[in-house]
């Protein structure tokens, strides 16, 4: 299943899937760059859809179907909708919105470059020339489920407790103002 690339495969004769993977990766990267550089708030949210969709396609190409659809379901279907909802509720002008710029661009760029460098170094160093064969499919719902609930069940449970805590916290925060404000608690 996992062999060293140098033994069986070369990097210079890629298969069709690998080329597609690289191209989709480039498109995703491009969409991500536009997401953070565009001057229009809502366009930025919509480019985020393209970026997250591109990631979903990459998961598909790695045969991780379940992850891909959950990615679309949660991020495109809910997170971006929440973002758009927030934007529409507060301030979403058509055209440029210069008042939304905060002068932190250089700092943000610095942080982004550093963290990207760190992540890329980590991934490259961790896998180096490892070759993972994805046929037969190694990311089906069956395999993912078994891995998640057999080998990774502790982190999974820890995360669910974290999410539960966040949920309870959100409810507490949203109800906080009710009793204190005199009279205003009637129609919260």
């Amino acid at each position: 299943m996992i062999t060293l690339a140098a033994e069986t495969r070369g990097f210079l004769s890629p298969a069709g899937v690998e080329i597609v993977f690289l191209l989709v990766g480039l498109v995703t990267l491009g969409a991500a760059v536009v997401t953070v550089t565009t001057r229009q708030l809502v366009h930025s949210a919509l480019w985020l859809v393209a970026t997250l969709g591109g990631l979903a396609v990459e998961y598909l190409l790695l045969t991780a179907e379940f992850i891909a659809w959950v990615q679309v379901l949660i991020y495109v279907g809910s997170v971006v909708v929440l973002l758009l909802f927030g934007l529409m509720l507060t301030r979403a002008p058509i055209g440029r919105s210069p008042d939304a710029d905060s002068g932190n661009r250089p700092v943000a760029l610095g942080v982004a470059v550093v963290s990207a460098g760190l992540l890329v170094t980590l991934v490259v160093d961790a896998f180096r020339s490892t070759w993972i064969d994805v046929s037969p499919a190694r990311g089906t719902t069956d395999i993912m489920g078994a891995a998640l609930f057999r080998h990774w069940v502790l982190p999974f449970e820890a995360l669910s407790v974290l999410l539960l805590a966040a949920l309870v916290g959100a409810i507490v925060l949203s109800r906080r103002t009710a009793p204190s404000a005199d009279g205003a608690g009637e129609d919260r």
């Binding site: 179907e65 679309v72 495109v76 529409m88 058509i94 089906t140």
Partner: protein, 318 residues
Amino acid sequence: MNAIDVIVTLLGVLLVFLVLPLVVGQTEHKVMAHMQGRVGPMYAGGFHGWAQLVADGVKFAQKEDVVPDGADRRIFQLAPAVALLPYLIVLVAIPFAPGGGVGQAIDAGIFFVLAVMGAGVLGTLMGGWASANKFGLLGGLRTAAQLLAYELPMLLTAASVAMAAGTVSLTGILDGFEWWWIPWQIVGAFVFFTAGLAELQRPPFDAPIADSEIIFGAYTEYSGLRFALFMLAEYAGIVVLCGLTTVLFLGGWHGPFSDSVGWLWTLLKTAVLAFGVIWLRVTYPRLREDQIQRFAWTVLIPLALAQIALTGIVKVVI
């Protein structure tokens, strides 16, 4: 699967996609009319006005396609396609007959259909925002709020079916179907169907498009073919929702002689559900925005959780 098979499958899906929503639309014309004590369209095409929707389509195609001056042109023009295409894609994954009667069997089918359907709402949001119209924006806001509230019960009940069947593949669910799943999952079916109606913004959950108060919400500024595409998306959505409810909760192609006429059972169950959708539109007044939210969070989600608990208990016992 060779290239010809793929092309035939895609053409078949396209045909279903073009025909069934129109049939539902025409049925809506006639059923609404008869429930309201009138006859509905009678002239176009001769027999009981069967070609009325075709005539409507021609009319829409002839209208001028207006883009408002202050609108965000590209997003405004792109929105109808984003709203319509997901339903076309979803149809590929809905099984309609036994023994490979499905456009493309997908391993994580439930998640696929729900994910793609959820993405379709982006089209309405884009249209509502890009119109540069306060009614459009209001409609978009209401759409988003409604989607966020109703996505959860829909997912929970779909998860309940997946638990019952022990698989997340739509074909797998139908292969494992037993008749007693219907009473077992009946609460889930109600929640799923109702939440689906709300996601499609059909009456009584049509506050986001409410023509008599916010003038069709996100579609206010649309005219001509683009408006027609939004309408087509609504009817395609009805077909997809009813088909999906049939597959998940009503046993899809299961029924007497299902080996030979399985597809007919799917179609029949879908049609009965679609009739119910139309019936609800004629029967119930529009819910207020706060009533819509309250219904989702205080009725549907507790019911969905109760259904999951029930599914889990029965699953452990048997």
